[in-house]
């Protein structure tokens, strides 16, 4: 049995401890906002927070998450009104939308450490997240917008 705290809820699961957190979230807990993209920490679609740090859940064994706080896109904000979510909607960032939850989770970790990131900070923090549709420009703008919202 592995005990997990995900989005402030505790789950006790009987799974192979080597199972990537990604597949526990998706297959066992139906938290499908965390996406599968590459399975080797190359695309960022599976980004979640582990004790506040952005991690790739596709290469994070569920045993590594035991006893730590996991936050997924579903738990980023109780009302789905995190400044980043609002900024994403304001700028209508998404095209296909598949990578965007991972993008938002990476951006949220950035903003927690750096409330006023420059373009360069954003480029560095977001370089691990691929958007095949090419919405990067809007993602960059949305992160700035969310940072501005945070200041108000």
């Amino acid at each position: 049995m592995i005990s997990l705290t995900i989005n402030n809820k505790t789950y006790n699961l009987d799974v192979d401890p080597a199972t990537p957190l990604l597949w526990v979230l998706r297959d066992h807990l139906d938290l499908v906002g965390t996406k599968y993209g590459c399975g080797m920490a190359q695309c960022g679609a599976c980004t979640v927070h582990l004790n506040g740090e952005a991690v790739r859940s596709c290469v994070t064994r569920v045993s590594q998450a035991a006893g730590k706080k996991v936050v997924t896109i579903e738990g980023l904000s109780e009302t789905n009104e995190h400044p980043l979510q609002k900024a994403w909607l304001e700028l209508d960032v998404a095209q296909c939308g598949y990578c965007q939850t991972g993008q938002i989770m990476s951006a949220a970790a950035l903003l927690r450490k750096n409330s006023n990131p420059t373009d360069k900070d954003i480029d560095a923090a977001m370089a691990g997240n691929i958007c095949r549709c090419g919405t990067y420009l809007r993602i960059r703008e949305a992160i700035h917008l969310a940072a501005d919202m945070g200041k108000k």
Binding site: D16, T19, P20, W23, R26, D27, H28, D30, L31, V32, G33, T34, K35, Y36, G37, C38, G39, M40, Q42, C43, A45, T72, I73, E74, N80, L84, Q85, W88, L89, D92, V93, A94, Q95, C96, G97, Y98, C99, Q100, T101, I104, D119, I122, D123, A124, M126, A127, G128, N129, I130, C131, R132, C133, G134, T135, Y136, L137, R138, I139, R140
Partner: protein, 754 residues
């Protein structure tokens, strides 16, 4: 999205009622057969929807639903197509419920996402549907109030009789309206009267996207659903010989391992039934991770497939295609292409006397351009849910072309088409890849075999190494100049594996007196298909790079040179069947020239490249500005001009152009899929470089030509010319011309030459 298995089969009921006919309330008879409290819970609160044309449903309490007919893969049709309906229907957009329509080509049209067709093919039918429904509601109100319909007006979901002050919601007249025959030939609004179309509306699924709701095929789940994966041969040209699954079957969660033939020998394939491998080794289990692990325990013997034959009955008629058995390697393919390039080829178009022009030329410029296979790399890998039972099948997932895939499913399952239900989810990208429905056939056969609901998932490696790729292309361009540096002859000879890319009737055809286009093709076992702007995505790199070099050789500004050719094509066109409109083509060049401040002093610090292209009935031009950063040319800004007629949802359309620009820069600099002994050498994103945030331009300015032309394509047209503009800008940044894609690896030691 998940549906419990034990619920009353409402979908089946709805489908059969819909087939049974008319525009009447779908579930009325069904609901009235139950007494209150007897209904299953999920039907108890069901709204009574009256269907008013196939696209619109309204409840008596005035909930208004518009069905989006076309699969959504990020081109924003879930929003833009319902906007077109709503414009004529006269409703308050903020109150509209938008829902993905079922697969129903009778009621909802062709339902094909591809060819930049969504808005252009639905523009008229959706406006007509909106206008017809509005008229049906007006007639319903006229009946109810016993008033002449001419005295009634419709506005924002309400009907008014000004004289008497009477008013009512659409919902109040929905039941009457639904019984009225759909009127034809309704007068449609003039463009100047649009209130919703041409005004940016937010993505109707935005909230669901940013909060991680299950929207995509890979998110779909049913009770008792198993996960399936396919172990493919390691290389094109190989096939399954034998396997030992003893160890794999001992792995936790694994329920089955078996061999499955996809298409029976001699099966007639449709044009989009392309499949990579026919003998599938299938692993089925309870969870994704367990299946992934079990695959590693398989002991498999592969063998050369040898030469095989396919019978294809596609757009160009029925033909037998011989698929060669050779295990192909990129370097050998390149050599073979050079050989073919020197042989006589098929003539596609000839104007004037090109042979004489080249014979008499004072100067001949000849350049050859090459491009590799490209993988689509949709962020959501290929997947599909299937539940096949004895007499029916349900398939749910990401798909661009349900109407083409249903006949295939019917063939492989031996079920009549009306027993097959395909539900289209939002797609995590498509780019042409999901027009090829073989993965539905795979999922369906697996479900049939294991007698359970199954979700087939491709890993990223499966998705990348067994693709339906953009072909490998080459083209040699030649220009003949006279002693005064006038262009007197133009010759393009293109080829590809396994298809060439030449559009013989496009610019600069029509603008040069002596013109020759030729092409050749080399068969291959590497599967190819549509990739965002097929063929154009290579032509616009090669031809637009060549025109840039030609302009320089002629001592002309690259934009002015193109405009001169277009002037000729308009005033005195050469030959027949020129596909493009010279005015619209020149229009985007003039617009991008103006908006980019072309030749302005303040922009001299940039290495600027320009390119323009016509495809999918639209026109696009870009100016791309590079600067040198840390000794490496880096994209800084992009100016885009697009003429796609009326722009339905401008902000989303700009987003699409921005995306096409970034996609184009990424593929021009990095995109490449190569093979060794038939095996793809790139299997995941650590080997297949994708453009990322840190390589994204600071600024992309998108400008649309303002006109009232019915919408033409948008998803594809801005993509191809990016390649040419990148190559031309890189020339100005480094002093070196770029002929081979991808350009990025050639830039590592680049220094600004001037």
């Amino acid at each position: 999205m998940s549906q419990p298995n034990n619920s009353v089969n409402r979908r089946t009921f709805l489908k059969s009622s819909a087939l049974a006919g008319g525009g009447l309330l779908l579930s009325f008879t069904f609901l009235s057969a139950f007494k209150k409290g007897e209904l299953p819970a999920d039907l108890e609160a069901e709204d009574q929807w009256y269907e008013i044309t196939g696209y619109i449903k309204i409840t008596p309490d005035n909930k208004i639903k518009i069905l989006n007919p076309n699969p959504e893969f990020g081109q924003n049709v879930m929003t833009s197509l319902p906007m077109i309906v709503a414009e004529e229907l006269e409703v308050d957009w903020t109150k509209i419920i938008v829902e993905m329509g079922p697969h129903d080509n009778v009621k909802l049209g062709p339902q094909f996402t591809g060819g930049s067709n969504s808005v252009r093919m639905y523009w008229k039918p959706l406006r007509e549907a909106g206008a017809a429904a509005r008229q049906m509601l007006l007639l319903g109100a006229a009946q109810t109030w016993n008033l002449p319909v001419e005295e009634l007006t419709a506005k924002a979901g309400m009907i008014y009789h000004e004289k008497s002050g009477k008013s009512g919601t659409y919902g109040e007249f929905a039941s009457k309206a639904a019984a009225i025959a759909i009127p034809k030939g309704m007068k449609l609004k003039e463009a100047k009267n649009f209130k919703l179309v041409r005004n940016s509306q937010k993505n109707v699924e935005g909230q669901k996207i940013v909060s991680g709701k299950p929207l995509f095929g890979i998110d779909y789940k049913q009770e008792g659903m198993l996960i399936a994966m396919i172990e493919h041969p390691p290389a094109f040209g190989m096939k399954l010989k034998s396997f030992d699954a003893t160890e794999a079957l001992k792995m936790p969660g694994i329920t089955d391992v078996f061999r499955q033939t996809l298409y029976e020998a001699g099966m007639e394939q449709g044009g989009f039934d392309t499949r990579t491998f026919n003998e599938l080794l299938v692993v089925v289990g309870k969870t994704t991770w367990e299946v992934m692990n079990a695959r590693k325990k398989l002991k498999v013997n592969w063998e050369p497939a040898g030469e095989t034959k396919d019978i294809i009955n596609g757009r160009t008629g029925k033909k037998e295609v011989v698929v060669p058995g050779k295990l192909e390697t990129t370097s050998e393919q390149r050599k073979l292409m050079q050989e073919y390039a020197n042989r006589p080829a098929q003539q596609l178009r000839k104007d004037g006397d090109p042979e004489a022009a080249f014979k008499n030329a004072a100067q001949i410029i000849e350049r050859t351009y090459n491009a590799p296979f490209l993988a689509h790399n949709c962020m959501e890998p290929m997947n599909f849910f299937a539940h096949v039972e004895a007499d029916k099948a349900l398939l749910v997932g990401p798909l661009q072309a349900p109407a083409w895939t249903e006949p295939l499913l019917s063939k492989v399952l031996g079920l009549p088409a009306d027993k097959i239900e395909i539900q289209m989810t939002r797609m995590g990208g498509g780019f042409g890849r999901r027009a090829y429905g073989h993965y539905l056939a795979e999922a369906a056969l697996i479900s049939k075999k294991v007698k359970a609901p199954v979700k087939l998932i491709y890993t990223r490696e499966d998705d990348m190494t067994y693709g339906i790729y953009r072909p490998m292309y080459t083209a040699t361009y030649r220009a003949a100049l006279d002693a005064n540096k006038n262009l007197i002859g133009f010759h393009v000879k293109g080829g590809g594996i396994p298809e060439h890319a030449i559009h013989a009737n496009r610019f600069p055809a029509g603008a040069v007196d002596n013109y020759l286009a030729e092409a050749w093709e080399i068969p291959s076992n590497i599967t190819i298909g549509a990739f965002r702007a097929p063929r154009s995505n290579f032509n616009a790199a090669a031809e637009q790079s060549f025109l840039d070099e030609l302009a320089e050789a002629m001592g002309k500004d690259p934009i002015d040179f193109r405009l001169e050719l277009l002037k000729r094509a308009k005033e005195n066109p050469v030959g027949k069947n020129n596909e493009y409109d010279a005015d619209r083509y020149a229009g985007v060049l003039q617009l991008v020239k103006e908006k980019s401040g072309w030749n302005k002093e303040e922009n001299k610090k940039y290495s600027r490249g320009v390119a323009a292209y016509f495809c999918h009935n639209s026109y696009a031009a870009h100016v791309i500005d590079f600067i040198n950063k840390e000794g490496k040319p880096t994209v800084e800004r992009v100016f885009s001009a697009v003429d796609c007629g009326i722009v339905v949802n401008p902000d989303a359309a700009s987003n699409m152009v921005e995306g096409a620009v970034i996609d184009g820069i990424g593929n021009a600099l990095y995109g490449a899929l190569t093979h060794k002994e038939g095996a793809a050498e790139q299997n995941n994103f650590h080997r297949y470089k994708m453009i990322r945030m840190n390589e994204t331009p600071r600024q992309i300015d998108v400008h649309f030509v303002q006109n009232d032309i019915d919408p033409t394509g948008l998803g594809e047209p801005p993509f191809p010319p990016v390649f040419g503009a990148v190559a031309n800008a890189l020339y100005r940044a480094t002093g070196k011309r770029y002929y081979d894609q991808p350009y990025g690896p050639q830039l590592n030691s680049a220094k600004r030459a001037f």
